[in-house]
Symmetry: C2
Subunit: 315 residues, 2 copies
């Protein structure tokens, strides 16, 4: 969708952007930065030799550095795109090498724990403004990325108290130029919102796929054959990157447990409705949930094509 992303901007927002950790998100960022001309130069680093080798082949950036510290040299924008659990260690390594005045940000799916893991390692001369683009697919790695990943999706910024308004404005402009909408909120609120819109959905998807795999009465082959009845929708998100998701649950424990508690309570109530054959109660819930999907489609966060366009209508 090159036309939807629009033409490159008139002048780069940054001289040198460094991306540390180059999977789906990091490589999509590199691609859109280049496509839109958001930085004059792009440096990448990934801790995996294999990924660095692949990045050199893909040629989506100007430099592929062998160390995180090397990548951030002279960068005025540094974005950490590693799994949440690795952020603190990276910050410790790059801290002393950061350019004064640089903006340091990230794309982690939890925000409170990142703030406390990363901030202590950064010099006072840089602007740390955490961010979270709520975008992605179930695929991982630098080949999975694409420039329009952030288009019409929301990026949440969680600037710490007293953050430099100019730095926040610049990072906001950066994300808007990737095609994203931008909203700011407190880190704790972010973690609660994402617990219900992303973390608990992933958890229950992982869980039901696990339950199905462990059954003795129903074979795995039957689960696979008859998955079009609904199950397969869960397997997509249960195919997401395991390390990334392990770190999310470990780092957003309180909000996830809180939202999971609500989910389980509601599920118990629903279970009782079935046991008591309360058809009216079931129908009422099932009718109410339709409206939310309608809003999600109306607001461009989803396609209305049946089955997500898996099965085009032929007549």
């Amino acid at each position: 969708m090159p036309d939807q992303l629009g033409a490159p901007i008139a002048a780069p927002l940054f001289e040198r952007a460094a991306i540390i950790g180059v999977g789906l998100i990091g490589s999509s960022l590199a691609r859109v930065i280049r496509r839109k001309g958001l930085a004059r130069e792009i440096a990448l680093h990934d801790s995996s030799d294999t990924v660095r080798g692949r990045l050199r082949e893909l040629a989506i950036a100007d430099h592929v550095a062998d160390s995180a510290a090397g990548a951030v040299e002279n960068a005025d924008l540094v974005i950490l795109c590693a799994p949440v659990g690795a952020m603190g260690e990276i910050a410790r390594e790059i801290g002393p090498r950061l350019k004064a005045g640089a903006i340091v940000s990230d794309v982690g799916s939890v925000k409170s724990s990142i703030l406390s893991a990363v901030a202590p390692h950064l010099p006072a001369s840089v602007h740390f403004i955490p961010a979270h683009p709520v975008a992605g697919t179930e695929q991982s790695g630098p080949d999975a990325g694409f420039a329009s990943l952030f288009l019409n999706r929301w990026t949440i910024l969680t600037p710490p108290e007293g953050a430099d308004p100019k730095a926040v404005a610049l990072l906001t402009a950066f994300w808007k130029n990737t095609g994203a909408h931008v909203e700011a909120m407190a880190p704790g609120h972010h973690d609660l919102v994402l617990a219900i819109t992303s973390h608990v959905p992933h958890l229950i998807a992982y869980n039901i796929v696990g339950t199905a795999a462990d059954l003795e009465e129903v074979t795995q082959s039957e689960v696979i054959k008859f998955s079009a009845g609904g199950f397969r929708d869960f397997t997509r998100i249960a195919a997401s990157d395991p390390i990334m998701w392990r770190d999310i649950f470990l780092n957003n424990k309180d909000a996830v447990l809180e939202m999971l508690g609500r989910f389980s309570e509601d599920l118990t109530a629903l279970q009782r409705m079935i046991r008591r054959e309360d058809g009216e109660g079931l129908e009422k819930l099932f009718t109410r949930t339709r409206a939310i999907r309608r809003s999600i489609i109306d607001q461009g966060q989803e396609t209305a094509a049946p089955d997500f366009g898996r099965r085009p209508k032929d007549d």
Copy 2:
């Protein structure tokens, strides 16, 4: 995909097919019967005046009858496509009007309860062979149907003990000509398999959408905006027809409660892993679930396009 459905067959399998209840599944059946020439004539009936009016406009069949009894007159294939809870009453109405030797089938998502609700009303001279095409989209109504809905999906037949092998063979041939794969199993086993591959997934999707809608700390607008983080995948199946799903849960109560019990047990274990920060256990589960998706894609029950092709790669 007219080419994938193939050319019409050499001679119709049935003289007159009657479809009672014409929503997504019934109207898809009418379309594929006509497209493939599986019956010489097609008669439809729906209990809703509005739907009957629409069916006359759509002109996907030869007759739109004002009563179920009228539609089945002289039919040698009768397929009940109404919600599960309505099947018994329809059987009672059409029973006396069925042609001797006719095959009576259905498309209900539960099989044990349909057998007991329908069979007593049918004369001994007809062949009752329940069936369940595991196919569908989240959309409802006669406009939502399309001829290739069953293509590469599985249809499960649950012939009662002592069913006429010729009738079973004919119904099998019918479904194969819609493009479906066909498998036979006992009704009780069907209900267990579908409880885990379809009914419980729908239940937990309805449940989490309900949980999210009821939160006070997170606004509905936030849930909608940030739904791309995973939540929106659940809203698709939680947008399915409420009456149909109410009936499924009421009629497959035991199997659903059994499978829901397993799901909840596993979820409690997962909750404990998070509380105890058992990263290794989480990673192990999250890695295992990837393999199942791979198999579902390999066996043609799912597309591998990221996000189901919602977001095409642009570079």
